[in-house]
């Protein structure tokens, strides 16, 4: 990797306090020690040095990150900042948590290390997210309580939502009302579900029907434009797409990057290096190597596994896929894990291609209307 | 009245290396002698110094002024240094540019520091012949391209004739592609060859077709006289040419023949009418006090009744004074009315009360 920025998805633990049925990760109790973290930090900052990469964003994810004590993160930050300073690199940190373990003891870390921001997940309706022995409904109640506590402490919580069949049945109005009005979220993002990881009943009917999902998205889009867009409610990927079509700003979700392999890398607590958290714990054949065993991260990133993911867009063009699509520049064939988990091969389009095209077309037109209305004001 | 500038149109010779079908300038003559030139510049200096006139321009005309050769213009520069130590005269020229090569070119690059020259071409019809009877177009084109390379602003003129009507669009694009910054489409009342004779109606029709081509090109090229009419119609800015505007007494224009005879306009010099005397006998104060010194501006201010009452008077002001008939109208009146009526239907015709601007003399 080269260029000014690298994103590292760092899993300090694969331990989790939840028992979500659709999880794509194979959980273990592995947890990163500070010593191992120091070696890891040194190796990946060496890689940045060798490849003239100036900035790093670390996305702390799990398992569940809050199953490790807050003190670990402060020490981790100190280690990483020291390694970065000595190489004149800058580092930012972000955190993704299920919020179950959140309490006031986390406020200091979240403020100092994570800029008072935290990402989490909440589904509507929640069919699969729960703690062991609990129910989805109780999970949501607990989550909402934790969310409000965090919000009252000044923490900006954004949320990922994974739609399911029931979401489509209940419709966009109910969906929007739940998140924006009932829970009181000001920022949420919808990720398309995929049957990653070990098989489970919750994954058997994935992918969702693309036409129904497209209708859902478009209905939600209209509701948001009417009630939330001007009021500062952010829904991903809608506002990123509006920004893209209005200004060309390339800040789209990773599933649409022309080469996620060029921008992201994931390391789990055992040192396994893979493309992202969707791959590392469940797809050993797609691991690039182990950072504690190889001579350098640079060497690991030359692996065949990474090359396959990196060159997936090339294969799609060779197969005649995507080249004729109006929105090639937005999507580049979509997400490799979604393609692999559904089609069992990398060299296939994202299974939600139809949904994305409907969304792109709609937002393309909406951006035009927004631009015109701004110029008419 | 304060004189702000003075322009002399000097014809050092009436000889020419071309035989244009429409030319009335070519006559047997002596060339402007050096003593007469010296006399002219001495008197001019006395006048401009006495009246604090800083803007002095000399437009070398003819015949073909480049026939005088580099030596003559070297002398002009020497005399200028002597008589005008503190003022730089702006030299321009009207030429067929066939002789713009070699030493003549080198000297003119020194003389004409403002880099302004008038040229003339007919790309499609043999109306401009050499003395040997061949089409002068290749040499003129070569000279034009050389002038452009040397950074000259070329005020290109095309003399409109009957056959021009067949090639209106081609003319427009040829001159635009030539790279000259402006083109004047100028009619002349008489042609040596009746096949080329242009009537006022022909001229009006030519201008109409030209306007259409110009409009289709979004008025990109500076085309005279169309551009000054359009400027007036859109913004009220008065016409500025000596034909369609009005010369100003504060910027007098005097023509000097090779013998030193003085005229208010070079077309009067061609016809040998309205001579005001000779530079050998008069001071510039006396010249400018002559009744005919301001003949052009007087004619424009005292229009005949038909012109004064014409709805198009602001666009025309009776046209070129040298083309007036006995009634005081221009020979081209009917043709001009045709184009004005046509343009009026396209552009809004404001009710601007025209204050005629001070015209810039400079037609061929």
């Amino acid at each position: 990797m080269t260029g000014s920025h690298l994103s590292l998805i760092l899993l300090p633990t694969l331990r989790c306090n939840a028992d979500c049925e659709y999880c794509f990760e194979n959980k273990t109790s592995d947890t990163l020690s500070i010593d191992r973290l120091t070696l890891l930090a040194s190796r990946f900052l060496d890689h940045m040095e060798e490849n003239d990469i100036r900035e790093l964003t670390i996305y702390w994810q799990g398992g569940e990150v809050l199953t490790i004590a807050p003190d670990f993160y402060m020490r981790a930050r100190d280690v990483i900042d020291r390694e970065a300073r000595s190489r004149t690199k800058t580092v930012k940190h972000r955190i993704q948590s299920n919020l179950i373990g959140y309490g006031k003891k986390w406020n200091g870390v979240i403020a100092e290390m994570f800029d008072n921001r935290l990402g989490s997940s909440l589904d509507f309706p929640n069919l699969y997210r729960k703690v062991r022995g609990g129910s989805p409904a109780s999970f949501n109640r607990m989550w909402i309580r934790k969310f409000r506590e965090a919000r009252d402490s000044g923490i900006d919580v954004s949320v990922i939502s994974i739609p399911n069949e029931e979401t489509l049945a209940r419709g966009a109005e109910a969906f929007y009302t739940y998140y924006a009005d009932e829970v009181g979220l000001r920022s949420f993002q919808i990720n398309t579900p995929f049957p990653g990881g070990a098989p489970h009943a919750s994954k058997m009917r994935l992918p969702l029907p693309t036409d129904r999902l497209a209708s859902f998205f478009l209905d939600l889009l209209n509701i948001w434009l009417e009630r939330g867009y001007e009021q500062g409610i952010r829904i991903g990927p809608f506002d990123e797409l509006i920004d893209y079509f209005l200004t060309g700003n390339p800040g789209l979700p990773c599933i649409w990057h022309n080469s996620c392999a060029g921008e992201f890398v994931c390391i789990d607590p055992r040192g396994f290096v893979s493309q992202c958290d969707c791959w590392v714990a469940s797809y050993p054949a797609f691991r690039f190597g182990n950072i504690f065993e190889a001579a350098s991260l640079t060497e690991i990133l030359r692996s065949d596994a990474r090359r396959r993911i990196k060159e997936r867009p090339i294969r799609l063009i060779q197969l005649g896929e995507c080249i004729d699509c109006t929105y090639l520049s937005v999507c580049h064939g979509g997400c490799p894990i979604r393609a692999y988990s559904v089609h069992s091969k990398l060299e296939a389009k994202d299974p939600y291609c139809e949904t994305y095209q409907a969304l792109f077309k709609s937002l393309d037109n909406i951006a035009v209307k927004i631009a015109r209305s701004r110029s008419a004001c | 009245m304060t004189i702000q500038s003075i322009n002399l149109l000097v014809k050092p010779t009436l000889a020419c290396n071309a035989r244009c079908l429409y030319c009335h300038s070519l006559k047997p003559t002596n060339n402007l002698s050096i003593p007469l030139l010296e006399h002219l510049l001495e008197k001019l200096a006395a006048f401009t110094n006495g009246h604090n006139i800083a803007n002095v321009s000399m437009n070398w005309h003819g015949g073909e002024p480049m026939l005088m050769g580099s030596g003559f213009y070297e002398t002009v520069m020497e005399l200028e240094k002597r008589f005008f130590p503190h003022t730089q005269i702006r030299h321009t020229m009207q030429s067929n540019v066939c002789l713009y090569t070699g030493e003549t070119r080198e000297t003119l690059l020194k003389l004409m520091h403002a880099r302004i020259i008038g040229a003339c071409l007919d790309p499609f019809h043999p109306t401009r012949l050499t003395a040997q009877g061949t089409d002068s177009f290749p040499q003129s084109l070569k000279g034009t391209l050389a002038l452009l390379r040397d950074g000259f602003f070329i005020g290109m003129i095309y003399v409109v004739h009957k056959k021009s009507l067949e090639v209106v669009e081609d003319l427009y694009y040829f001159f635009k592609n030539l790279g000259v910054p402006s083109i004047l489409f100028h009619p002349l009342e008489e042609f040596g060859n009746p096949d080329y004779h242009l009537t006022p109606q022909d001229y009006g029709e030519f201008l109409k077709r030209l306007w259409d081509v110009w409009e289709e090109d979004d008025y990109e090229f500076n085309v005279s006289p169309l551009a000054e009419w359009r400027r007036f119609l859109r913004s009220g800015q008065p016409c500025s040419s000596c034909e369609y505007g009005a010369p100003s007494r504060e910027s007098p224009h005097i023509v000097v023949s090779p013998e030193g005879d003085l005229y208010p306009c070079h077309r009067f010099q061609d016809k040998r009418i309205h001579c005001m005397g000779n530079i050998g006998d008069l001071t510039f104060e006396e010249i400018l006090s002559h009744p005919w010194a301001h003949l052009l501006s007087d004619s424009k201010e005292n229009l005949c009744s038909e012109c004064a009452e014409c709805e198009y008077v602001s666009l025309c002001r009776s046209g070129c004074v040298a083309t007036h008939d006995r009634s005081g109208k221009t020979f081209w009146c009917e043709g001009l009315k045709k184009i004005f009526e046509y343009v009026k239907s396209k552009e809004s015709f404001g009710d601007a009360d025209v204050q005629c601007s001070h015209a810039v003399p400079g037609c061929i």
């Binding site: 080269t2 022309n258 080469s259 937005v330 393309d364 951006a367 110029s375 | 790309p123 390379r149 694009y173």
Partner: protein, 273 residues
Amino acid sequence: MLTYNVPTLFLDAYEDTKLIVRSDDVNRLVASLSNAHADRIVTIQARSLAADPEALLKAPRTVPVDVVVGEPGAEYENIYRYSEVARKHPVRVSVRVFPGFGKVVKLAASLNFPVKLEIGELDRDLAAEIVESLDYYLHSSTLGQPIEFFHSVLLGFYHNHPLTLWQVMEEDPAELRFVTDEGKLVLSERLAAVEPGADPSTYIDELRGELLAEKGECSLCRFFKNCGGYFRAADRKFRCDDVKRIFQTLRNAAKELKHDYAQLVTSEERPRA
């Protein structure tokens, strides 16, 4: 200072010029940047997509990279490999116009690379493909980089200040020359067979004079100021109808843009309630 386009083999042969260095081999291009004359290299030109351009990531400095896609079957999809290169070096894709070139343009544009079309011979089918690319350039809502020559010609019409195709296509011999693989200095790769004359820097001016003197199609063409005889230089029998249609489309688009912008300005000046 003139710029010479040279193969890496002749890198040391030209002093007092800026250099565009070209090769099929990316490693040779990288090596050239460590050469004693490397400070005069203004662009490197990759002539093949077969090899992985990874070596460019280790280049000693940042330098513009021009990726030339020469013919059909050139594995154009490998342009994707340059998206990582683009994090270190500005990348442009130069596309020789051949049947199917439109896909190359689309892919390069989708990766946010500027594109330069290189037109040699032109038949009806190719012309139709160019018109398709032109339509894509004018109307795609996701295009964020120029496609030349469309872009500069459009701007020339818009500002009424045209550049000629000689300048847009970087073929003005007053600024750029080409050294063939055999070491011969010519006007440009496209005009390798044309005699440059005693002073190549005056070639375009002389060509222009010749075309005007002929009083043929070029001298009367409404797009001569934009074209400058670019297509007729290589082939005096070049049929210009399709090129004129392209120019006219760009001209109309510029007019539309000017009109729309004028409306926008007017609406911004309107008094608000």
